[in-house]
Amino acid sequence: MILNPTGLSAAEIAQAVAARKITALSVTEAALARIRQHDTVLNSFTDVTAERAVGRACAIDAALAAGEKVGPLAGVPFAVKNLFDVKGLSTRAGSRINRDLPPAARDATLIERMEASGAVLVGALNMGEYAYDFTGENVHDGPSRNPHDPTRMSGGSSGGSGSAVGGALVPIALGSDTNGSIRVPSSFCGVFGLKPTYGRLSRARSFPFVASFDHLGPFARSVTDLALAYDAMQGGDADDAACTTRAIEPVTPLFKQGLGDLRVALAGGYFQQNLFAEAKEAVSRVANALDITRTVELPEAARARAAAYVISTVEGASLHLDRLRKRPHDFDPAVRDRLIAGAMIPAPLVDRAQKFRRWYRAQVMELFKTVDVIIAPATPCIAPKLGQATFVLDGVELPVRANIGIHTQPISFIGLPVAAVPVPLEPMPIGVQIIASPWREDIALRVAFALEQMGVAVAPQPRGL
């Protein structure tokens, strides 16, 4: 039987390739054709590595023909946010300035691990400049667009990752999340995203933003595919000082075991404020499906968001200080002006924010003695229109950029693992955060899978293509 590779999940592709029902080359060619056909609208790719991908796919097919074993992602096309080093490409990190860097000499660790599992890299993806963004807009490359309505934002800063997976150009993409940059595009583009525990996945050979909060993780159209990618990428790495030395803890054998006696609660207070009706509806659907009766309060969540904001702007400013001196005109002006302001925050205030972080973490860990999972909105709204500067919430006009990540920042601030799941509302999907205690990605994915099985969390087919 000859399968049509278009529309297959990563798991289905890998199984079909391994069983030689389909070739890795035909899957790769189909993905490249779909990118050519639809990326003129989505603008999710900044680089398509077609020659490399074809070579890699042929090598997998040759290995299979020789009777060799292939990995659990055999022949699965994937793409990466363009802050990952891709051998032979300058790591632009959404910027103009970084295009002057020499081509990367080696792939990022996570690309190496995906390819060691058989996946096929097909390109690098659009993103907000230097990851300081929640919109997916980029002044140098143009915005990546929402696959369900190309007049709307993809979300940032991993906008191309959300757009490419939401548009079914690739079944898996990788992105980064400092304050919400996996969870926000997942929400806007209607896909699953996993921000693992801080330190779980290696960041080696990716361009940083805020060392205290930077995480890398996968996007996919199903929990099964998300888990496959996540498991392929686990493992310590001496090239990332923050990467864990814990043993690999595969989730694939665990996430289908059902909800069991998991204790699930809704995040109250701060997380039930500043929400449009669609965000409330999405959380309500998840709460009803999980039969949640309990609400918990993450103490001082607003202050946690404030501290995350301060640390982000200061560490970002420190990272870019010399570029701000030498090439200020080559930045996106909005990013530049935020970073210059960040350079001016007095040091004691940053130290206090890091001390507050310790306090807040301890309080939230106390909560996790009585619950296993906390549910919260991923974004306050569905994807805004491209270029939209403000929205009106409860009669108050608020800036869009500053408010998109208000519900994600207090969570990544202390590195908790989160699965963002898409709730397929009409006309646009919106995401919900499934939050677990540190190192329990398996629990977040168990709940995500249960919601997927119930039909509550689904990655809708792209409506805008």
Partner: protein, 60 residues
């Protein structure tokens, strides 16, 4: 009208860090700084024990 002390602060820090700020950018830099300082003060207002460790990430 009296000069805003924040303008003097921006001038002084920019000079200390050798950061050039063109007049056209100045209002946006100032607006961003006002937001950042407001949020930083919100954290500053929260009393913490003297023994509180910062949430460092480096381990040797």
């Amino acid at each position: 009208m009296a000069a805003d002390p924040l303008d003097d602060y921006i001038d002084a820090v920019a000079k200390a860090l050798a950061l050039g700020i063109e007049n056209a950018w100045r209002p946006a830099v100032k607006a961003n700084l006002e937001v950042s300082l407001r949020l930083a003060r919100m954290v500053d207002d929260f009393a913490l024990p003297d023994e509180t460790e910062p949430a460092s990430i480096f381990t040797a």
